[in-house]
């Protein structure tokens, strides 16, 4: 068992026993880990308010097989801007849950760590935007190797250049040409171009989807993610419920 300090983002935490917390965190150096913080609810000095979802911190951990032991935490940021807006809380929770569910334990993934950190940073300073969520999703799928094929037909392998009306199938693994895509989800070339731009632009807020493209990209990405999950995400159910209840479907606070 060796003790080390690592930069981490808390993906989720639950109470464990009388005073402990069971924490899932994404560590820059060691990937996704689960650990127990003994006495976390009692010791304000060692943990303070650090072990909260989507907080970014330096964790002192004892690495071992199974659950690692969390010895202490120094907060880098708790993203105070996110905590002022219900939509941003929901979206940050969604991003963390998505990483938790799609990323296997162990094995460093610094690219994904940077993506999640950049998304939380963006949410901390900007109002909730559906485009940013889709930007995060397509890049996450790309890093994890789950990205749907966008350059050529996932059915016959033909190039898609010059084709305007296309189809999409998550089970086929991507965009389909007119011949292969009969009965599949319709997608326009403009939406595919915007998704491409999301992958080539390394900055949140740089790609803005018009409403029709946002709806198409949303359906495409939701289906691409759902195919890798055994059950729906809790945070997605939460976000959908907020949208249904909010006037005009906006989940931002006034």
């Amino acid at each position: 068992m060796r003790t080390t300090e690592c930069e981490s983002i808390i993906l989720g935490a639950t109470d464990y026993g009388e005073a402990d917390r069971l924490v899932t965190f994404f560590c820059h150096e060691h990937g996704k880990l689960r650990g127990v913080a003994r006495g976390a609810k009692r010791s304000r000095q060692r943990f303070g308010g650090a072990l909260e979802p989507f907080a970014r911190l330096h964790l002192q951990v004892s690495l071992k097989e199974g659950l690692v032991r969390i010895q202490g935490a120094d907060i880098l940021t708790v993203f105070p801007g996110i905590r002022t807006d219900l939509g941003r809380i929901g979206c940050a929770g969604y991003a963390c849950e998505l990483v938790d569910r799609l990323l296997p334990e162990g094995g460093a993934n610094p690219r994904l760590f940077r993506l999640l950190a950049a998304f939380l940073e963006f949410l901390d300073h900007s109002p909730y935007a559906e485009s940013a969520r889709r930007f995060f999703e397509i890049n996450l799928l790309n890093i994890l190797g789950y990205r749907p094929a966008l350059e050529h037909c996932a059915g016959c392998g033909a190039g898609l250049a010059g084709l305007e009306r296309l189809g999409f199938s998550a089970t086929a693994g991507g965009i389909l040409c007119r011949n292969c895509g009969t009965g599949s989800m319709p997608v326009t070339a403009a939406t595919v171009t915007l998704l491409h731009r999301c992958l080539s632009t390394g900055r949140f807020g740089a790609v803005d989807f018009p409403p029709s493209a946002l709806a198409e990209a949303g359906k495409l990405l939701d289906a691409s993610i759902a195919i890798h999950l055994s059950r729906p995400l809790n945070s997605l159910v939460f976000l959908c419920e907020l949208k249904e209840q909010a006037p005009g479907g906006s989940i931002q606070n006034d």
């Binding site: 303070g48 807006d85 809380i89 809790n234």
Partner: protein, 197 residues
């Protein structure tokens, strides 16, 4: 594995269901009870009494024996409602003797990650209570966790159209603490929420 009499095994099983009680603690408690039969009867009686008499108040959803509870029927300020997550939070505020209004217990907090949605809390009951009128201010006293903050933001959005004043508990440096030992997030919040002297 040790084998005890059937009744003792049953008692150990029940004790282990309590929070913070494991195998060893359950054994210690059980043997302590066996040594003092008078205590066993008193404990059993009070457990049965609690089970049959204690319930939730139909107005504030706090713990009570009489429905509505003494806080909801007493001469406390009915224009002031303090919203808390759990009955224990209500007791914490009562212990401070700093609040003379009434309460509403939500029995939880919204949690995007655990999938706890508004329908699972006593939010509809709170809104019905506020819509009946007579309340001038709602104090949101949910915890300062992500879940508590989400709940406060959600309630603020629901209550705002009713034209009722909405306030949130202050937060910052705990009394009697040294600034150098306070965590970064708390210092940030305290600095943002500083007040004039």
């Amino acid at each position: 594995m040790l084998h005890f009499s059937a009744s003792l095994t049953k008692l150990l099983g029940e004790l282990k269901k309590l929070p913070g009680v494991g195998e060893k603690t359950a054994l210690r408690l059980a043997f302590h009870l066996l040594k003092s039969p008078a205590n066993v009867h008193a404990l059993a009686e009070s457990l049965v009494e609690v089970g049959s008499r204690v319930r939730f108040c139909s107005t504030c959803f706090g713990i009570t024996e009489a429905d509505p509870c003494h806080i909801c029927t007493g001469d406390r300020d009915s224009a002031l409602i303090c919203v808390v997550e759990e009955p224990q939070d209500m007791l914490a505020i009562e212990r401070s003797h700093s609040f003379k209004g009434r309460y509403h217990v939500l029995h939880g907090a919204l949690s995007p990650l655990s999938g706890i949605t508004p329908g699972q809390l006593k939010i509809r009951e709170l809104m019905e209570r506020l819509e009946r009128g007579g309340c001038n201010e709602v104090i949101l006293a949910t915890n300062f966790t992500v879940e508590g903050e989400a709940t406060a933001l959600y309630l603020a959005r629901l209550i705002k159209p009713l034209g009722i004043r909405i306030t949130r508990l202050a937060h910052g440096i705990p009394l009697g603490s040294d600034l150098e030992y306070v965590d970064l997030a708390t210092v940030q919040r305290a600095m943002e929420g500083r007040s004039e002297v």
